[in-house]
């Protein structure tokens, strides 16, 4: 048996009520694994932001998580519109979220900056019209 745990989540589009379920489940597993509270918190916050972005900006997608004694890797892959200017999107406060989403309290433009802040490595691959893949790593 391998020294890692692999988890896969399908994220539905536009289902706000279920957004956060995947990161909630990962949190539960990390507790069972005996990860440090700090690591659990970093993963939960970074992944929740990413999960919400997939729902709001990209009609859902797929998340793969791999947990090893060394680190936690989260790969969030969507087939959404892509991000035209990553540098701009990464700026705190930048958001293209529509009004109906802002009414729910999202759209502060803090998601990507938080993901950067709470992960130890982050990489964004994006192709306009094809989709975005965000890879984040948190060290144990």
């Amino acid at each position: 048996m391998s020294d890692s745990i692999k988890l896969n989540y399908q994220i539905n589009d536009e289902d706000f009520t279920r957004a956060g379920e995947a990161s909630g489940d990962v949190k539960k597993r990390l507790r069972q694994m005996g990860c440090s509270p700090e690591v659990i918190r970093k993963v939960a916050i970074a992944m929740y932001e990413g999960e919400i972005n997939m729902v709001i900006h990209a009609d859902g997608g797929e998340i793969n998580v791999e947990i090893t004694p060394e680190d936690i890797t989260m790969v969030l892959k969507d087939k959404g519109p892509g991000i035209p200017d990553i540098e701009k999107a990464m700026q705190a406060g930048y958001s293209t979220a529509p009004d109906n989403v802002r009414a729910l309290g999202f759209g502060a433009g803090m998601g990507l900056p938080n993901m950067k802040k709470y992960s130890d490595e982050m990489h964004i691959d994006t192709v306009i019209g094809e989709g975005t893949t965000v890879t984040m790593k948190v060290y144990q």
Binding site: D3, S4, I5, K27, R31, Q32, G34, I40, I45, I67
Partner: protein
């Protein structure tokens, strides 16, 4: 469930009382002291919780209840609600001075504190580090009793009249302090039966009340937060709701709240399993009773045992990781993968017939060596079918 008996995994139990509430066969009973404990002391003081007042119909003077407690056999009474007003006073001050800890989470409900201790280590720093009202009341009551009687402290019995068994655990294993100041915990429901006839006989009650609206309000969800005189708070009750709020709080889903009041029981302390009245009815009764009370009666005074400094926690709450399946990261990963393998073979119906609450819980118990796969009746049935199939093949007929 093991061997037809309901078993609780002690390390994970936070004394929320759900098991007692839910089981119609009374498989789980709360533990508390019998009323006879008052015979163990030379002088006893009753500390009635505010939720006691919500149990009676048409009560418009708490002095009737307090006088009846004395006729029941207690030498004196000290309302926990009075000390709740002191805690409100201290909390207002603490919250104002500790913005960096916002939102502060109330610590009056021991089950909530225990839940945070085992499951939400990141939130420990948000706990309001002030002793709960009942502990402060116990200190004051003992001081007053010593002054009145001249007896040594150990001849005096401080008896909490409690809505919940979680406080019993807190007396044995206190949170945030070395040793509890309470000697015994009796159930509201036991006291209630004795009080009813006595209350009927009282025409001229003694003036014993020490708490106002704020103190009495603590018995109901939202009451503690109400005592802080701010709008910037959230109050949630019921263990499921509390759990959800804490999950969200840990993921930073709330903005700039000052205070979060959480009660494990529905409706707050009036929903405790040692009460008699339905929590929502009790709430109405408490609100009615509170209406004509002064806002607050008790503040810290110079002669009090409690000073702002000695009402604070003296011991830190430490994270108790109870969810790990094995020892160390590698072993845990290995065991979690085993759990996932076993879970795949289980039917996923969460029927509970095996004794575990869910298929996942059974899988975990199997990995921990506390159960086996054929405890699942669905797998057992398949197994029996397969066996009988093989036997019939052997059958020469």
């Amino acid at each position: 469930m093991r061997n037809h008996k309901a078993i609780i995994t002690k390390e994970r139990c936070i004394d929320c009382g759900e098991c007692i509430r839910i089981c119609q066969n009374h498989a789980k009973l709360p533990s508390y002291d019998p009323l006879e404990v008052i015979n163990d002391y030379d002088y006893t003081v009753a500390l009635p919780a505010p939720s006691l007042y919500g149990q009676f119909n048409n009560l418009d003077d708490v002095n009737i209840v307090l006088t009846a407690l004395k006729r029941m056999g207690f030498d004196d009474v000290y309302e926990v609600g009075a000390s709740a007003e002191v805690v409100s006073q201290l909390s207002r001050d603490y919250i104002k001075k500790h913005r960096e800890q916002w939102p502060l989470i109330s610590t009056a409900c021991p089950s909530v504190v225990r839940l945070i201790r085992v499951k939400f280590p990141n939130l420990i720093e948000h706990l309001l580090p002030i002793d709960p009202p009942v502990e402060i009341a116990a200190k004051e009551a003992r001081k007053r009793a010593v002054e009145k009687t001249g007896l040594p402290e150990d001849k005096i019995g401080i008896v909490f009249i409690s809505p919940c068994p979680s406080k019993v655990t807190s007396v044995k294993a206190p949170l945030g302090m070395e040793k509890s100041n309470i000697d015994a915990v009796c159930a509201i429901k036991d006291v209630y039966l004795k009080l009813l006839p006595l209350m009927k006989q009282i025409d001229d009650p003694e003036d014993l009340a020490m708490a106002g609206k704020i103190g009495v309000g603590w018995g109901v969800s939202g009451g503690e937060a109400g005592g802080l005189i701010t709008d910037n708070y959230l109050a949630a009750d019921g263990i499921e709701n509390v759990n959800k709020i804490l999950e969200d709080l840990e993921d930073q889903k709330f903005g700039n709240l000052e205070f979060i009041e959480l009660n494990a029981c529905n409706g707050g302390c009036v929903g405790g399993v040692l009460t008699v009245e339905n929590p929502y009815v009790a709430k109405v009764k408490m609100n009615r009773l509170k209406k004509y009370m002064p806002v607050a009666l008790k503040r810290i005074e110079s002669g009090d045992a409690i000073k702002p400094e000695n009402a604070m926690w003296t011991r830190e709450i430490e994270y108790e990781p109870v969810f790990a399946l094995g020892e160390g990261m590698k072993d845990n990963i290995h065991k979690m993968n085993m759990v996932a393998e076993i879970e795949k073979r289980l039917p996923g119906l969460d029927c509970g017939a095996c004794g575990a609450p869910t298929c996942l819980a059974l899988a975990e118990d199997i990995v921990k060596g506390e159960a086996k796969e054929l405890d699942c009746i669905h797998l057992l049935r398949e197994y029996v079918h397969r066996l009988s199939g093989e036997i019939s093949k052997l059958d020469p007929m």
